[in-house]
Amino acid sequence: MTTLRMKNPATSRQPVRFNWLKIAVFLLALLPLARAAWIVLSGAAINPVEFITRSTGTWTLSFLLITLAISPLRQLSGWSWPLRLRRMLGLYAFFYGSLHFTTYIWLDQFFDWPGMLHDIAKRPFITVGFAAMLLMTPLAITSTQGWMRRLKRNWGRLHRLIYPIALLGVLHYWWLVKKDLTQPLLYGSVLAVLLGWRLYRRLRQP
């Protein structure tokens, strides 16, 4: 461990001030939670557990896709400010994913561990959802500046896990739908465009 540590260049570049953009996005990202809480508490959801599960699940996927849209947005527009939001958006994906996972363990299964193990082993859509959640955890833990420094080049390699995570997320949704695939197809198409863009750039510039 280095003892003589310079101030982190990423943060020292900016003067100390409120970052209104970050605050605004932070609050905006809490709106889905507020809306879900309102719908459940007002009694408008006939099957609240199902509603919370679906709502937190689709928002997890949405935040994963928003996070993945940051790089293409920067590359296409030339703006640099979206990059400053990426970590927070990724953490929000983890936040909604945790709520989704907790809802399953607590409200849906009520801590029926044997039942859940049976579910994970037997039902492919739960297996892949569980895998996605597991893979998101190290990314959330290593999202700090400290871990970035400690992992150096490996940090970037590790965080490329977001690609399989998003794929597993879409697959999870795809396999759980009974018949109407419109919604998973929508998320799948957006993901295909976002990953396709990366592939295209990679093939174009050696």
Partner: protein, 302 residues
């Protein structure tokens, strides 16, 4: 996903069901001196000993949380879009292996001796409700057409009218929706054709004007808005089985021991309850119906 609007009526403003029915009872009683009750009560059903003692779900729960793909695949969509369905005039054709094939107008069907049947309903997706249906046994209708000895199965069909049923404009399922029963299941006293619930005609989203109710089977067997009942010798094709035979069998009896590939069927969440409850074989109607399946392997014939 669809954004559900929060209720604009506070729960405190809603008349409790008990009060609502008392008032109806009172009006019926006082008006009965002058008029026959039939004209006042939207639909009255004689109490049935076959009713469950469980507490029924509220009309709001029953009529706003529906699977009715003809009006959309989200559970909130049928209540939003089923209003466009015209339920008058309405005829149900009953034909096939019968001595007296004929068509029944809905007015005639509403004149059958009606009963209130409070039944549990278990959806294949793992939730359940208790619903106070008004209806009459399917057997009493079938007896009127004199089934022949070749009538082994009963095939049902839902209305196909994409102009009024927006869900039918996309090919989510192969329309019209089809269901079927074996003849002995169809003739069982628990099997009813429902024309109402909570002492009124069926809301459109619940399958108006007439639907099947088979309480020991998963909900999708209880086909809605029936226009055709066809008796036949061969086992009929059924919609969910056609869509995915691995997941939806012809029988689809409620069975906690046979999992759906995506859902455990061991337990269920009763709408309005927080904790799940254990699912009972045949949805708790085993004493009355298990004998229908004696000698059958219900894992294979799921």
């Amino acid at each position: 996903m669809l954004i559900q609007k929060p209720a604009d009526i506070a729960p405190s403003e809603i008349t409790p069901e008990g009060v609502y029915f008392n008032r109806r009872q009172f009006m019926l009683g006082s008006a009965g001196l002058l008029l026959s009750g039939e004209t006042l009560a939207a639909l009255a059903g004689k109490k049935s000993p076959l009713s469950s003692a469980d507490k029924p779900n509220s009309l709001k729960e029953i009529s706003t949380y529906n699977n009715y793909y003809e009006f959309g695949t989200d559970k909130s969509e049928p209540a939003m879009y089923a209003g466009s369905l015209k339920t008058r005039p309405w005829n149900v054709v009953v034909d096939g292996e019968v001595g007296k094939a004929r068509s029944f107008g809905i007015e005639e069907l509403l004149k059958q001796p009606l009963e209130e049947r409070i039944y549990r309903l278990r959806c294949v997706e793992g939730w359940s409700m208790v619903i106070p249906w008004i209806g009459f046994p399917l057997a009493s209708l079938l007896k009127q057409v004199a089934p022949t000895s070749r009538a082994k199965y009963v095939a049902f069909e839902t209305l196909q009218r994409p102009a009024e049923m927006p869900g039918q404009r996309s090919r989510v399922l192969d329309w019209p929706y089809r269901e079927g029963l074996r003849m002995d299941e169809a003739m069982h006293p628990l099997t009813i054709l429902a024309v109402g619930l909570y002492n009124d005609v069926l809301p459109n989203q619940n399958g108006a004007p007439i639907r099947l109710v088979v309480p020991w089977k998963y909900g999708f067997k209880s086909i809605k808005s029936i226009v055709r009942i066809h008796l036949q010798e061969q086992m009929p094709a059924t919609s969910w089985n056609m869509a995915n035979a691995r997941e939806y069998g012809f029988y689809s009896n409620v069975n906690p021991d046979v999992d759906h590939p995506r859902w455990s069927q061991a337990s269920e969440r009763r709408i309005g309850e927080f904790l799940k409850r254990k699912t009972l074989p045949f949805n708790g109607y085993g004493d009355q119906v298990a004998s229908l399946y004696r000698g059958m392997d219900l894992r294979r014939n799921f």
